[in-house]
């Protein structure tokens, strides 16, 4: 029944996905997406980068070469089956050593985004403080989640306004963010709580924290999945930015356009 004249499939491998902005300067920005054994959302992250207007580069965890990418996304999934602890084994992957070194350089350091399992990897790698434990209710949870953008000054959030709310999917079992009170106070005091859960805390995370950044703002981790809310027809049923059609939510796209604009600017 399809009468679409789109030449490329909407779902599929990363190659056929066309950018919305072929002539955009953002096209020159290369965002790497790391695949570990057990990564699930790497294709979705690649797709999100392209829909935002950038160029995506597949990175393999066992390589030693970052392929001159301008930013890196560590996607969701269950790297190494979540054996030992979520993200614990991935931290020692060869490519993670390169990423950790490149991300630790201050203002001009490599922008790195960790989503869900990627957030867990970033805490295990000590690029972000704290840790994730099982959800306080012990259930895997999957729902559209409302968040507040608390800090619009990071490399990954500048396309949002401070205090703006967004709706993106949440799906995890080990999503409860924990840290000691001193660390939590530092995060709050330095404005490094980037996303906070709104309308109820889904997993017992300390102080309703859904996402944080490092001190320089180039490394951000969050549990919910912005890459699943970037294209009308394939997103959540709701948005915090106005009425949308069924599956029409695209509130996550700003994460990816933020980093592209920062790198071009």
């Amino acid at each position: 029944m399809s009468t679409s004249n789109i030449e490329t499939p909407l779902i599929g491998g990363p190659q056929p996905v066309a950018s919305n902005n072929e002539d955009s300067p953002l096209n020159g920005v290369k965002v790497g997406v790391v695949t570990f054994p057990g990564s699930l959302d790497d294709r979705d992250a690649v797709r999100a980068v392209r829909l935002a207007g950038g160029s995506a580069v597949h990175l393999w965890h066992g390589d030693h070469n970052l392929q001159d990418v301008d930013a890196v996304i560590i996607p969701g999934g269950f790297s190494y089956g979540d054996y030992l602890r979520a993200g614990a084994i991935s931290r020692f992957a060869p490519l993670m050593e390169q990423i950790t070194a490149a991300a630790s350089g201050g203002e001009d350091a490599l922008p790195v985004l960790g989503i869900c399992n990627g957030f867990q990897v970033l805490t295990e790698a000590h690029l972000l403080p704290g840790s994730m434990i099982k959800n306080n209710h012990l259930h895997f949870i999957c729902r559209d989640q409302r968040l507040r953008v608390e800090n619009a000054g990071t490399s990954w959030t500048s396309d949002y306004a401070e205090g703006e709310e967004i709706v993106i999917p949440l799906k995890n079992q080990d999503g409860q963010f924990v840290a000691d009170n001193y660390t939590l106070d530092v995060l709050e005091g330095e404005g490094r709580v980037v996303f906070r859960y709104v309308d109820g805390n889904p997993n017992g995370s300390r102080r309703d924290i859904a996402g944080i950044s490092n001190a320089a703002g180039n490394v951000v981790g969050l549990m919910p999945h912005p890459e699943h809310a970037v294209e009308a027809g394939f997103g959540p049923d709701s948005s915090a930015r106005g009425t949308v059609d069924v599956r029409g939510g695209t509130d996550g796209l700003g994460i990816f356009t933020s980093v592209l604009k920062k790198l071009v600017g």
């Binding site: 614990a88 020692f92 434990i133 099982k134 209710h137 012990l138 409860q176 017992g204």
Partner: protein
Amino acid sequence: MPRIVVDVMPKPEILDPQGKAIAGALPRIGLTGFAGVRQGKRFELTVDGDVTEEVLEQARHAAATLLSNPVIEDVTRVEVLEEGAS
């Protein structure tokens, strides 16, 4: 072959949802004598040869870096297991 045992437990102040779920299940099978349960992890590192101080130090290093996350867990034991013990 000799074994080194490493025990890792969730920190006391960290909520242990798995232990809590187990504690909730005990009364359901009629066991009411327990006030709580904490679930930890036990690792057994098998050594090919003698357990030298150097090997033991490697085990301690493994326990502190890979086997545990100091944000949420404590290493409560790194010990050579006597032959025949379990």
